[in-house]
């Protein structure tokens, strides 16, 4: 974490999300003995790994003062494309041609499609100055429609055990999705803290015009972050598809909201320039633990939503109060 961005904040404030998470865990484990078990911990980690991947991309976008509402649909489309290629391949009857796909090939195409959709978002935003909210809202609908077209509205299932390994397998005693999201987080921390791109992301979110006059290529940076957000949505889509052994046409519905929630709870400012990847990871874990805990405590799903909304609001109120003291 780059603590330099807020060196003058008291230590306690810096770790407030962590403290909140610990208190939450203690609270739930006092009320349910199923919570603090090895099985359940891995279960929670596996569940949140998709949200972590998406939210990491969302954090980069939000740090530039943008937003990406299309991640849920992009997730669905990329998952469906990977699944479709894997199961059916590509047939071109006219040329009497059939192309089959290995798992690696299908996954690669899924990731490339994700990056292209992200680039398309970035292109609309940088070239035509479409506000990110609108551009990605359009993509939300477009990608969902394309998913329906590709799947003809039906799930693509039975993708084979080897593909299912991505979402359900274990490696060195840790679930594979946790490995994947962990690597994504590490890569994103390196990008934000150790690369020029990272500095530019913060600078653009803090003051776009000054950044431009400083010689930063604003369009390139924005295209890059939206492309990354697209790729990470695709990663999430492949993990979801693999775990369910099925690409659902309505997969990823409202995932963008969960990821924005994680970003916001993690202390990233929606107006850009301020926030951290690790904050978002904590935010995603808090949401995951909360979901899991409420289920274990047999709270009605309706109340779960109310509680989740309250937590988001509370997090932002606390964050505002803190930034006022800066």
């Amino acid at each position: 974490m780059d603590l330099s961005l807020k060196t003058h904040r008291p230590q306690l404030v810096k770790f407030q999300s962590l403290i909140a998470l610990i208190l939450l865990c203690i609270g739930i484990s006092l009320m349910s003995d199923k919570f603090l078990t090895v099985d359940n911990t891995w279960n929670v980690m596996r569940q949140i790994s998709v949200n972590i991947c998406i939210s990491v991309g969302m954090t980069l976008v939000v740090l530039t003062a943008g937003i990406d509402l299309s991640v849920g649909s992009v997730l669905a489309l990329c998952g469906a494309i990977t699944a479709g290629l894997l199961k059916f391949g590509v047939e071109m009857p006219a040329n009497n041609l059939f192309i089959g796909f290995t798992i690696l090939g299908a996954v690669l195409v899924g990731l490339i499609v994700g990056s292209l959709l992200g680039l398309f978002n970035g292109w609309a935003i940088t070239k035509f100055k479409v506000p990110p909210f609108v551009a990605t809202l359009a993509m939300l609908t477009i990608a969902r429609g394309l998913t329906m077209l590709w799947t003809k509205g039906f799930p693509i299932s039975d993708l084979g055990d080897r593909f299912a390994y991505i979402g359900t397998g274990w490696f060195l005693g840790i679930p594979l999705p946790v490995w994947i999201s962990g690597l994504v987080v590490i890569a994103a921390v390196v990008i934000t803290q150790k690369t020029a791109l990272g500095r530019y992301i913060y600078a653009i979110g803090g003051n776009e015009h000054a950044s431009r006059l400083s010689g930063i290529n604003i369009n390139k940076v924005k295209l890059t972050v939206y492309a990354i957000a697209g790729i990470l949505a695709a990663v999430g889509g492949i993990m979801v598809t693999s775990r369910l052994d099925s690409a659902q046409p309505n997969a990823g519905m409202s995932y963008e909201l969960d990821s924005i929630a994680a970003v916001v709870i993690g202390g990233t400012s929606l107006s850009g320039g301020r926030g951290t990847i690790m904050g978002t990871v904590l935010g995603a874990i808090i949401i995951g633990v909360l979901n899991n805990g409420l289920v274990l405590l047999n709270v009605s799903p309706f109340w779960q939503q109310v509680v989740k909304g309250g937590v988001i609001l509370l997090a932002v109120i606390i964050d505002k109060a803190n930034s006022k003291n800066d």
Partner: protein, 504 residues
């Protein structure tokens, strides 16, 4: 008449005001003078009710008053016109004037007719001949200021405080403002006038109060005190503006701009008035070229266009070091050796929320990467430290957030960022605006030093004494054109001003 007696104000651990005394007599303009951080704005904020928690007494027309909030101060007849105007852009003049105190008719609806009429009267009185239905956004800054004054009059304010009212308006608008102030004096209003521009104060003020380090140093009549004496009281010692006497003995032309024009809109539109019109000039190595012009003359547009901010709108030819260059983006220009310290350091120069280190490095990250492509944190810190030391940037550490530094130090960070790219041409747009006299002098010295190392410097300024003191050669701009060129030795204030208003 307003008297502030023994006013003290503490912020956690820091004494901002220490038993300050100020008198604002009716029918007079009192200049409040002091460097940045002297306590001027804190004092204004106490008098206008922003800070309710202070020691000492405010006595208004013989009665001690204590305001809990700005509204109470307004109701007591104290108005403040801030440097940054408080108007709603997409609301009409009338709407702004009556904001929060709308007139109602018997039905409980807005009485638009009555408000409009009252607004019209006020505007007439202030000689602002625009329709009161005009949106604020469509007014010039100077006109917006007049609306602020109208607002104060609508409140029946007897004490009007103006904070740097001329910092953003043109010379002719200043004249209008001074006319209004003279009329307000006749109406027996007490006026407090804060400004960095001492020359102005001699024109408009009757009295002065000098603040330094939160204390009242002296009050007195403007008549009989000199410019230098005032400066001496402000800073506590005499300051000489450094004259850049390094005669340039080389004729190496560094930058040549030839027939450079810029359109306001894309070229497809006809009859479009040009913002920049056939500008041609040369800059030699080691030369300080001053560009003077009034607000709206196109100075800022010129510097930004030379940095490649609007490639689609410009025509003409630029050569740098003998080679023709075409910049598509500021990144291109910076790579080629151009650098710009923009006019508004907070809006265009700095990323305020980031720390000093990142800001200094912002244009140079491609130079401080490991071969792996990751940032070399040691080089990053070293580059920041180098400029913190050489430019004397006062900051507790390079991890300090830029917004916590004073104006002068912020300006030095922007300059450091530019120097870090090792430019050949350094353009500075109003580099000393809004910073105190000590910091100004440091910047003058720095400019002279940089020129001595062979850098070509273009300094844009609207302060005549400054541009005359620091430049080797002066270009005057008006209406997007260059209207005159003077060697520093031959330039007089009169000549320059004449050229600056030639076309208007």
């Amino acid at each position: 008449m307003l008297i502030a007696a023994n006013i003290s104000k503490r912020f956690t651990g820091v004494i901002a005001l220490d038993k300050v005394n100020l008198e604002l007599p009716a029918g007079q303009v009192t200049a409040i003078i002091g460097e940045n951080g002297a306590g001027k704005s804190t004092l204004m904020k106490i008098l206008s009710g922003v800070y309710a928690d202070y020691e000492g007494d405010i006595i208004l027309d013989g009665q001690t008053v204590k305001f809990k909030n700005p509204r109470e101060a307004q109701q007591a007849g104290i108005a403040i016109i801030h440097q940054e105007l408080n108007l709603i852009p997409y609301l009409s003049i009338t709407g702004n004037l009556f904001l929060g105190r709308e007139m109602m008719n018997n039905w409980g609806m807005l009485d638009k007719k009555a408000m409009r009429q009252k607004a019209e009267e006020l505007l007439q009185k202030l000689k602002l001949s625009v329709n009161p239905d005009t949106l604020i956004a469509d007014l010039k800054v100077g006109q917006q200021q007049v609306v602020e004054i109208a607002k104060a009059l609508l409140y029946d304010a007897n004490v009007i405080m103006m904070d740097e009212p001329t910092s953003a308006i043109s010379e002719s608008e200043v004249e209008v403002l001074f006319g209004i102030i003279a009329n307000l004096k006749k109406e027996n209003k007490a006026i407090a006038y804060i400004s960095h521009k001492l020359n102005e104060l001699f024109k408009i003020a009757d009295r002065y109060t000098v603040l330094r380090d939160g204390k009242t140093i002296e009050s007195g009549k403007m008549q009989g005190i000199s410019h230098d004496e005032l400066i001496h009281k402000m800073v506590g010692r005499n300051i000489d503006i450094v004259r850049n006497s390094n005669a340039i003995n080389n004729n190496d032309v560094l930058l040549k701009v030839y027939d450079f024009s810029m359109a306001r809109f894309a070229k497809t539109r006809k009859n479009d008035k040009k913002i920049l019109n056939n500008i041609s000039f040369e800059l030699k190595k080691g030369e300080v070229l001053g560009i003077f012009g009034l607000m709206g003359a196109g100075r800022t547009e010129l510097t930004e266009a030379l940095l490649g901010t609007c490639p689609g709108l410009t025509t003409g030819k630029i050569t740098l070091d003998g080679k023709e260059v075409k910049f598509k983006t500021p990144a291109d220009a910076i790579k080629a050796g151009m650098a710009l310290v923009p006019e508004d350091r907070k809006k265009d120069g700095l990323v305020l929320g980031l720390n000093v280190r990142t800001n200094i490095n912002l244009s140079s990250y491609d130079q401080i990467l490991h071969s792996s492509g990751l940032i070399n944190h040691k080089s990053e810190a070293a580059l920041a430290q180098k400029y913190i030391t050489t430019l004397g940037i006062k900051t507790p550490s390079d991890k300090q957030t830029a917004k916590n530094l004073s104006g002068g130090n912020q300006q030095k960070i922007v300059i450091a960022k530019c120097l870090a790219t090792q430019p050949k041409v350094l353009m500075l747009d109003e580099p000393t605006r809004g910073i105190d006299i000590n910091a100004k002098n440091e910047i003058y010295k720095l400019i002279a030093q940089l020129a001595a190392t062979g850098l070509g410097i273009i300094m844009v300024s609207s302060e005549l004494p400054e541009i005359m003191a620091i430049s080797d050669r002066i270009l005057v701009m008006a209406d997007g054109k260059i209207t005159a060129e003077f060697e520093a030795a031959n330039a007089t204030e009169d000549n320059i001003l004449k050229a600056a208003i030639a076309d208007i």
